[in-house]
Amino acid sequence: MNGNIWVLASADSVAIATTLILAALGALFTERAGVLNLGIEGILLTSAISSFLAADSSGSIWLGLIVGSLVGALLAGIHAVLSVVLRANQIVAGLALVIFGTGLANFLGKPAEGKTVTTIIKPLSFGPLSDIPLIGPIVFRQDPITYASIVIAIVSSLYLFRSRPGLELRATGDDPATVDAQGLSVASIRIRYTLFGGLLVGLGGSWLMLAQSAAWHQAATTNGVGWIALALVVFAGWRPMRLIFGAILFGFTLQLPFTLQAEQITFIPSALMQMLPYLATLIALIALSRPSTRNKLGAPKSLGIPFVRDER
């Protein structure tokens, strides 16, 4: 067994986890406000191609990240209008967003199919620290967005559980009528966090494009990461700290088929391995559909339910 491959694999897991953390955090903020946005996959794809086009035409990676994030917020804005303002069925609206986002990305990506970004986001180097065996490549040879995603997750946790607006956010997802009675606007809170969630998802999509893939391939770029992110939120019990570890675990599973192949371990078919994350997603969605499990997992009580002030 080649130990080096496993170190690289672990380093890769952390890297793959970046998109998962950002996308799942985006979903988490949205869901904590009580809005279920199943359109994450569509947002990821569209923001990925947008960031690619922006970075490609301007030559600036940072502009690519900014454009990709804003496009993410924009698409989430469609979901916010449909589900919060028009009170549409959120599952239908979310699925529509996936189809719309995929189609839009396909359309925008036509001229770019197979093209490569000239400059990609590079890992930072911490000098000697990055050369520590084992720990070096895993902890000290990642790119700035990867570090940022973990910092964002930690700050999110503090925000949710230790701050006044965090308290109001959680209350909105659990019991919007209570928030309404306090004179706070449920719609405004929900729209704001849906947009913010979209921004984070967009950042995740852009990073996936500009640091991981480097080349645009409609079918291969996101690979269903958006769906896994949704499952991750469930498994993390809507808590950002747990989400970090979950994302790394999922990241490890996602890259495992490649490592096993490199190790020439073939007794487990790689197709089966590739299926695992999606199986996890399926389980998460089944868990979400049962009210009792939902409650035990800590799902926001009004998740997916439009708020209407009841008229006596």
């Binding site: 230790r162 701050s163 006044r164 607006p165 308290l167 109001e168 959680r170 209350a171 659990d174 019991d175 009528a177 209570t178 928030v179 309404d180 009675a181 306090q182 004179g183 706070l184 009792s292 009580k301 008229e311 006596r312």
Partner: protein, 520 residues
């Protein structure tokens, strides 16, 4: 709370009539589509007094309260606070002026602690929250009014009475000078009502004004310094002075005519056993919902099941109706087992079921009265409306249902009329003549006039020899109608008593889970 403090509270709080009222509404008019909810209503409350808004459901009292706290805006008229005109554009504006509403359905986040719930929405807090500091702050406010609460407890684990106290503390924490209590006793057992009244007195002593909204005459007479009666959106009467109000007079002002709500009990001897329940237990998801329930209901007898909502009443009714299979034990109607045989079988044995959820389980809202009747009639492949139509017309007349005939859509009926349609269908029998009637909260949400009719209908059914199981959270209803009363607490029958000798306090204690002396 001691008796002494109770006495002090009974004294007059407003020494001179010249004191400016804390909050007044002047000629308020509010329209909803098709309804004039408030028709130039005047109302005012002084510092330190309890002023009650009394009226039936739909009389406009909740609408008025909603305008007083900023939830709705009046179409015309205005509101003054300490004599100055104010605009209440939102509940936040209401809080700003020191006006807070304690809603009938609590506005509390169950997963949050008491302290978190109390501070939710407060703007004067720093961005960062310090848990223990907050809890101390909340406890200090609660203590200053003698309201015992535990700031660190999770609200989901508190009793209804405790939750209500949290709501009150929340209002006080936000600096409320005027508290609007919307039907605060509707969800409480008698012992909790007493505690609430003590809390109300503690607040009025501190100079707070209380607007008490209710339709229960007895408690209104007990708590109020003044009473304003509303009917159809208009003020129909005004009574000042504690204890000056007379129940009969208030009832007349409320309804517009004399009413008699107390119904007689069955005078004749009861017949054979129609419903037999033996050792009935039900476990759902590992939680015991019903345990070891056994009782009979005889022909011509009404058995009442009292209890606070959620103690297994609904499951008991559904099990008898054959909708749920019990974990163990049996249900029999006229000697035939119905356990595990489904609802149709139970109905064929003469069961009629009036569920609590009228328009969800009882009637199909989008269908006409006629089609709703057809649901329990003979079933053929082709729907046969012509033979049932005359019967529908007859039932509409007999039950005094306000509808434009058999084709009136159920959804468009008022609550009282929908309930009458449901009762008409169930009492008139389907394929089999009704022998056993299971009714759940039959008068919930109805106005006094409709309550009177529905109770009379139940009484007639009993006189006609039907066995009736009345499951209701309205203790007064159970007490005034039932021949025998069982109290359900956490899925067990904890107390039973004959209807005529039932004591409100004992039954109430049993509902709260306290062991009454009556039972070993």
């Amino acid at each position: 709370m001691t008796n002494a403090s109770h006495e002090v509270a009974k004294g007059p709080h407003h020494a001179s009539g010249a004191a400016p009222s804390a909050l007044s509404a002047h000629s308020i008019v509010k329209r909803f589509p098709g309804v004039l909810a408030n028709d130039s209503v005047d109302f005012d409350v002084l510092p330190g007094e309890v002023h009650t808004l009394l009226g039936e459901n739909g009389a406009g009292k909740s609408t008025l309260a909603a305008m007083l706290c900023g939830l709705y805006q009046p179409d015309s008229g205005y509101i003054t606070r300490n004599g100055e005109r104010i605009a209440l554009s939102s509940p936040r504006a209401g809080l700003h002026h020191g006006i807070a509403m304690v809603h009938q359905h609590f506005r509390l986040v169950e997963r949050f602690t008491v302290a978190e719930n109390v501070i939710l929405g407060s703007r004067d807090l720093s961005y960062k929250l310090n848990r223990s500091e907050l809890e101390d702050k909340v406890a200090a406010v609660a203590d200053s009014y003698g309201l015992p609460i535990e700031p660190g407890a999770t609200v989901g684990e508190l009793s209804v009475g405790q939750r209500q106290r949290v709501e009150i503390v929340k209002a006080l924490y936000q600096g409320a000078e005027i508290l609007l209590l919307d039907e605060p006793t509707a969800v409480l057992v008698p012992a909790e009502v007493e505690k609430l009244f003590e809390n109300v007195h503690a607040m009025t002593r501190a100079g707070k004004s209380i607007v008490f909204i209710s339709h229960k005459l007895g408690e209104v007479v007990e708590i109020s310094d003044r009473v304003t009666v509303l009917r159809n959106g208009r003020v129909t009467g005004h009574v000042s002075g504690r204890g000056a109000a007379d129940t009969k007079e208030l009832a007349r002002l409320m309804v517009g005519r004399d009413i008699e709500l107390t119904t007689q009990r069955a005078s004749h001897a009861t017949g054979h056993e129609v419903l037999q329940i033996r050792d009935l237990s039900l476990t759902v998801n590992g939680v015991s919902v019903l345990s070891d329930i056994s009782f009979n209901v005889h022909a011509g007898e009404m058995v009442g099941i009292a209890g606070v909502a959620g103690n297994g009443q609904r499951e008991l009714a559904d099990t008898i109706a054959g909708l749920i299979s019990p974990t163990s034990g049996s249900v029999a109607i006229s000697g035939s087992l119905t356990t595990d045989r489904g609802p149709i079988h139970a109905r064929e044995l003469g069961l009629a079921y009036v569920p609590e959820d009228r328009l969800g389980m009882g009637l199909v809202p989008s269908m006409s009265i006629l089609d709703n009747l057809l649901l329990t009639r003979d079933r053929h492949i082709v729907v046969d409306r012509t033979t049932v139509r005359p019967e529908a017309a007859r039932l509409i007349e007999q039950f005094e249902i306000k509808a434009n005939g058999p084709d009136h859509v159920a959804r468009k009926l008022s609550g009282g009329n929908a309930q009458k349609v449901l009762l008409a269908r169930e009492l008139s029998g389907g394929r089999t003549a009704t022998k056993l009637l299971v009714v759940c909260s039959p008068t919930r949400g109805l106005d006094v006039g409709a309550i009177e009719t529905v109770r009379a209908l139940l009484d007639d059914a009993r006189s006609a020899g039907q066995a009736i199981l009345l499951i209701s959270e309205d203790l007064d209803e159970v007490m005034s109608l039932s021949d025998r009363i069982f109290v359900l607490y956490r899925g067990s029958v904890v107390y039973e008593t004959p209807g005529e000798s039932a004591q409100l306090s004992t039954v109430g204690a049993a509902m709260a889970g306290l062991q009454p002396e009556g039972k070993s």
